[in-house]
């Protein structure tokens, strides 16, 4: 069953066409990696999808409902949870308070076992630590845990492994796989780290100049001449 259907999305910032007829779809419980060079419109797509900015044209259907006009809070209440590119946390609040905040939110879809969730992301020992004192990787995980406490229907993860070590990246890939396989959480992940994408081994959509130009598995997309040209350059 289709959870998200995006059709002909357009967004222009002054003279820059950030989204130029973007279309894609995602099934319930689906996991999709969004690839593409810097400036191709990936984050703009997330901004539009999460209600931070409005599209100029096109339509978005989410869970059999057309999205129109809701801001970020409204979209969150519908079950769309977005992880920002740089960790979006509350420095003075403790790890446990972050989960309490999410659990008390009008967007929370059901109860949550905070201790189990923290243990799952490796922060079980840090419940009383203020977020400002966590390492970069721990902050990324805390933000993911906070979003999971909302029990969302769709997770939007913007470069979740940015600034992580190799080991942390692997652990994040494993966590994401587990969330998807066991909990059935649907997610779209923007990522530049090819090792992470390979490790995830899920459907991939490649964006260029504001639209999707190739879709398929990592291996299939890797054989696409346009994608090879984008990532490896033209043969002389």
């Amino acid at each position: 069953m289709t959870l998200l259907a995006v059709e002909g999305l357009e967004k222009r910032f002054g003279g820059v066409q950030a989204l130029a007829g973007l279309s894609l779809s995602l099934d319930e419980g689906g996991l999709l990696c969004l690839l593409g060079p810097n400036g191709c419109g990936k984050t703009t797509f997330f901004r539009v999808l999460s209600g931070e900015t409005a599209a100029d044209a096109g339509r978005i259907d989410f869970a059999d409902r057309r999205l129109e006009g809701e801001g970020p809070a409204g979209r969150a209440r519908l079950g769309i949870a977005r992880k920002l590119q740089t960790p979006g946390l509350f420095a003075a609040l403790t790890v446990a308070e972050h989960l309490a905040l999410a659990a008390a939110s009008p967007a929370a879809h059901g109860p949550v076992d905070a201790a189990a969730l923290l243990a799952r992301v490796g922060l079980g020992e840090h419940a009383e630590t203020p977020a400002g004192r966590l390492s970069h990787g721990q902050r990324q995980w805390l933000e993911i845990a906070m979003l999971l406490a909302l029990r969302p229907r769709l997770l939007l993860l913007d470069e979740p492994t940015a600034g992580m070590t190799r080991a942390e990246t692997r652990r994040t890939a494993a966590l994401l796989r587990e969330l998807n396989d066991k909990d059935g959480v649907a997610a779209i992940v923007i990522e530049h780290d090819m090792a992470f994408v390979r490790e995830l081994d899920v459907a991939v959509a490649v964006m260029l100049q504001g639209r999707v130009v190739a879709t398929g598995s990592y291996a299939e997309v890797g054989r696409d001449p346009l994608v090879r040209e984008l990532y490896l350059g033209k043969r002389a």
Partner: protein, 327 residues
């Protein structure tokens, strides 16, 4: 009991016993300073918790003071025969609350004003209110209103009145303590958590599904109601209200008290206002107009060495471990 609670308890106990060791005149003066402390707590709620740096918070203090004066002096049309302190107190909370709700609707919803833009708008509103008050005969114009009666127990304005220094001091302290307790309980709840989160990262809070504008509006209105209550208690003690209570001067003073005390800690802001008001009376006697220079130096030193407030720094040291700004 945590060490932090013990320190807080000792501060309140010390304040309760203080008038037993000082003269009547000083007790009366401190009772007035307690209303400044309450006012500083209201700003600490708006600024320290919600991140709303208001350069014109005296607008609400003044509205409360004038509401109290008009009600108890029988100057409210239709209510001339009902000069009740209780009516005055109710209006002193309600009018600033409603004003802040209305302002909040325009300032926070839609694109919303933030940071300096919000601060400057509040400053402009306070100056405007000061000018309007100066030019309105019903409000006493430039001279203000003289003869505001003290708090009286009777519903019709009669009955025992609060005249003696010691009971006055303890009633003011009791009100401040009740407000402090209520705010501490609020801030420890999930609503309080959301208010702190607004200060820390309001955009992120919106992505978690919270209506940030509504949280700011309600928090701001609560802060305004407390400022109004402080204004009313001040007016009933001082017996006089003037346009100075609603304008820029007092707005700047409460900012300094709160900044020096500690904006993120209610007790620190409260105690900071008491301490600075008392220091002002002592130093003004010794230094005359140069007192302001001493205050400026104190502010610079505090910013350099106690970024989150001088009193907050000391209270935190006494509570050990926790850095200022944590509840």
């Amino acid at each position: 009991m945590s060490r932090k609670r013990l320190v807080q308890g000792l501060v309140w106990l010390g304040l309760t016993l203080l008038p037993l060791f000082i003269g009547e005149w000083q007790t009366l003066q401190l009772a007035q300073f307690l209303t400044y402390g309450l006012f500083a707590m209201s700003l600490a709620l708006a600024w320290g918790r919600l991140g709303l740096l208001s350069f014109g918070h005296a607008l609400f203090f003044g509205l409360g003071a004038y509401a109290m004066a008009l009600a108890t002096m029988g100057r409210l049309p239709g209510l001339e025969a009902f000069p009740s302190s209780w009516l005055g107190l109710a209006l002193a909370c309600l009018v600033p609350w409603a004003t802040a709700q209305l302002l909040g609707f325009f300032l926070f919803h839609g694109r919303g004003l933030r940071g300096a833009y919000f601060g400057i708008t509040m400053l402009a509103l306070a100056v405007l209110a000061e000018r309007l008050t100066q030019g309105t005969a019903w409000l006493g114009g430039l001279n203000g209103l003289i003869g505001v009666p003290p708090l009286a127990l009777g519903l019709d304005g009669g009955g025992p009145a609060l005249l003696d220094p010691l009971p006055t001091y303890w009633v003011m302290l009791g009100v401040a303590f009740a407000v402090f307790l209520g705010l501490e309980m609020l801030l420890a709840s999930s609503r309080g958590l959301a208010m702190t989160a607004v200060r820390e990262n309001e955009d992120r809070l919106g992505f978690l599904g919270y209506d940030v504008a509504a949280i700011k509006r309600h928090g701001f209105a609560l802060s305004a109601a407390i400022a109004g209550l402080a204004g009313a208690l001040f007016a009933s003690q001082f017996g006089f209200v003037s346009p100075k209570l609603i304008g820029f001067g007092l707005s700047a003073e409460v900012l300094i008290w709160t900044a020096l005390g500690g904006r993120e800690m209610l007790l620190a802001a409260f105690f900071g206002a008491l301490l600075l008001s008392w220091t002002e009376t002592v130093l003004a006697g010794l230094l005359g107009a140069y007192w302001l220079l001493a205050l400026a130096a104190l502010l610079v030193l505090s910013v350099l060495f106690f970024e989150r407030g001088f009193v907050a720094g000391i209270l935190t040291l006494l509570s050990r471990g926790r850095r200022p700004g944590r509840r």
